[in-house]
């Protein structure tokens, strides 16, 4: 089978403007992946399926991943000009200081597809796409028209992660009920406060029960007043 670099070159030759990025995998599994841009995803996927050498006819697994906003603190060497008094004379001196800088890498939702070829017997080729952010721009193109096996899996990702797939023929919740509001597989998902009385509450449950009772009491106080 071709290496990821060769596949990247083949995609870029076939689909003009498809920005493909190789994502390294530091684990020993050696399964590197290709990040494709959502704008060319359908063209790239069609190429991967129909290309004679690759013929990745089988989409095995589609998986959502939630990446939270990440604060990275890194040590950076900063050179700046400072005015210093050296031996009674004011001088402009260049000084290099090590500083800790913090920056926030914005989070995103990612969808990972594992492709295999049944005709050729090779795989996996891993492709991934990511959304712009985690709140209002969570749209991605659906690959269900190309590989039908994505149908239920993309519905599941829509349900549990909240990625909205455009071009999906039947995008509804799969596992949760239709009236459900949140997306439970997100990393920052908070369980609803539907605590039920437990006769021997202890530890975490006791804490939760107390919070629940306090909240209930406050709500009732508001209602009475």
């Amino acid at each position: 089978m071709k290496t990821v670099e060769e596949i990247k070159a083949a995609i870029e030759a076939a689909v003009s403007g498809a920005g493909v990025e190789v994502i390294p995998n530091p684990s020993v599994s050696g399964q590197q992946s290709l990040r494709i841009s959502p704008f060319h995803a359908v063209a790239v996927a069609t190429f991967l399926r129909d290309d004679g050498d690759l013929s990745l006819d089988f989409l095995s697994n589609a998986s959502g991943v939630d990446w939270l906003d990440k604060e990275i603190s890194e040590k950076v060497k900063v050179t700046r000009t400072v005015t210093k008094t050296v031996e009674g004379v004011e001088q402009q001196v260049e000084e290099t200081v090590e500083e800790t800088q913090k920056r926030v890498v914005p989070g995103c939702l990612e969808v990972v597809y594992h492709l295999f070829s049944i005709a050729k017997g090779h795989g996996p080729v891993v492709i991934r796409m990511k959304t712009v952010n985690r709140s209002d721009q969570v749209g991605l193109p659906s690959l269900t028209p190309i590989w039908r096996s994505a149908e239920f899996q993309e519905r599941e990702i829509f349900d549990l992660f909240g990625v909205v797939f455009s071009g999906h023929p039947d995008l509804r919740r799969l596992l949760m009920w239709d009236e459900f509001k949140d997306h439970p597989m997100r990393r920052d998902y908070v369980e609803p406060d539907d605590f039920e009385y437990e006769p021997t509450a202890h530890d975490e449950v006791l804490k939760r029960a107390q919070e629940h009772r306090a909240k209930l009491a406050a709500d009732q106080g508001v209602a009475k007043a």
Partner: protein, 392 residues
């Protein structure tokens, strides 16, 4: 047909892989039936919303989630090892293969080696699991055609013997929690291996009996032949795997393709279907059981002495290096895969299961459209699902 049994058809129009639209004949009204979630034929809590024109199915939408417990979320909150017993509860008919798939994925992630004896034990218990699953699936088929009880109990009689073996080995009949990253939890005694030989000696007689029941039975042939046809190109496109894919004539068995574990040392054949219908799906299962007997026999002959756990394997304080891995095996129901992302912590950052039962149901509507409502039960049974895995 090529050797892989599948030729790609590039001249397909958009939408070729969607279920066809079926027009009602215009007489009378449509009847909408909710089959399930407590219908006895649904193998658990599963619902099909079916629209009927007389007896004919013109729309079928599966409804999932009655057994959903968000296993993936729970696994992200617990350590790698803590999810091992939970995988038993996915496809509770085949706990051993679930264990194996998860162990394989983690071993891929960390590069963990597995000792020889453990590899052989994994093959033996894995193939015994396949026998349990396929025997039950065939038993349920005959049950669903109305032969209440007796044939299924024949199948369960054999299943019982194998579950007794599992109990002797692991302490539990179904929730075995047997495999570990880098081997198996306990070693098998010589007496246990003799027990396997003894059970194995009786199994071909059982399949002979069952096959006579299947191949010769007129009612069974009338009910299953030509029913629920699944074309190979649609099966591949829809990600159908396991016996269902091979019944559609596509030669794809992960034991052969990946040769995971030590499967490339064994000689076995991959049976393929010719008519792509319900009858083929069940014949394939019977034939695969025979191949499993042969694999177990070979494994019992060659099993070496030695440790069953890699002494360097780490169970406590297990923290894989950052990275990701996708490991898959040929479970009795199809391709069971685990996709793991590690961020270097004690819990997986992402833990995803590729459930064969759920993905094989993608084509349920395609197979059922135009069929009689009584055949829906049979077609659904031929997919062979377990709801613990579908809903996770």
């Amino acid at each position: 047909m090529s050797t892989s049994g599948f030729v790609q058809d590039k001249e397909k129009l958009p939408g070729w892989n969607r279920p066809p639209h079926i027009e009602p004949d215009g007489e009378g009204e449509l009847l909408e039936v909710a089959m399930g979630p407590h219908h006895p034929s649904t193998h658990g809590v599963f619902r099909m919303d079916v629209a009927l024109d007389g007896e004919r199915v013109i729309r079928l939408k599966p409804v999932f989630g009655y057994l959903h417990r968000n296993h993936e979320k729970i696994a992200e909150g617990s350590s790698y090892l803590a999810s091992m017993p939970f995988t038993d509860r996915l496809d509770y008919m085949c706990p051993m293969t679930n264990n194996w798939a998860y162990a394989l994925a983690v071993e891929k992630l960390t590069g963990q080696e597995v000792p020889e004896r453990a590899q052989y034990l994994r093959v033996i218990v894995g193939e015994l699991t396949r026998v349990v699953n396929h025997a039950s699936a065939v038993g349920f088929l005959i049950q669903e055609m109305g032969a209440s009880g007796t044939p299924l109990m024949y199948a369960f009689k054999e299943r019982e013997k194998i579950l007794d073996l599992f109990e002797e080995l692991t302490g539990a009949r179904m929730m075995v929690n047997y495999m570990r990253f880098g081997g198996c939890r306990v070693d098998a005694t010589a007496a246990w291996l003799d027990g396997v030989r003894k059970v194995l000696a009786g199994l071909p007689k059982f399949t002979d009996e069952f096959e006579r029941l299947l191949t010769g039975n007129e009612i069974l042939m009338a009910r299953t032949q030509g029913v629920g046809i699944l074309r190979p190109e649609l099966a591949v496109n829809a990600g159908v795997t396991g016996p269902m894919l091979r019944a559609s004539g596509v030669n794809y068995d992960i034991r052969k393709v990946d040769g995971y574990g030590i499967y490339n040392r064994f000689k076995f054949r991959v049976p393929l279907g010719e008519h792509w219908d319900v009858y083929d799906r069940f014949m394939i299962r019977l034939l695969e059981m025979r191949e499993s007997f042969s694999i177990i026999e070979q494994a019992l002959k060659d099993i070496p002495a030695g440790p069953v756990m890699d002494p360097k394997a780490k169970l406590r304080g297990f923290r894989p290096k950052p990275g990701e891995a996708y490991g898959r095996i040929e479970a009795p129901k199809g391709e069971l895969g685990f996709y793991l992302i590690s961020d270097g912590g004690p819990n997986p950052y992402r833990y995803r299961i590729r459930p064969p039962s759920l993905i094989n149901l993608t084509v349920l509507e395609d197979m059922c459209l135009g069929a009689n409502v009584a055949d829906v039960v049979l077609i659904f049974g031929s997919v062979d699902i377990v709801l613990g895995e579908v809903d996770r």
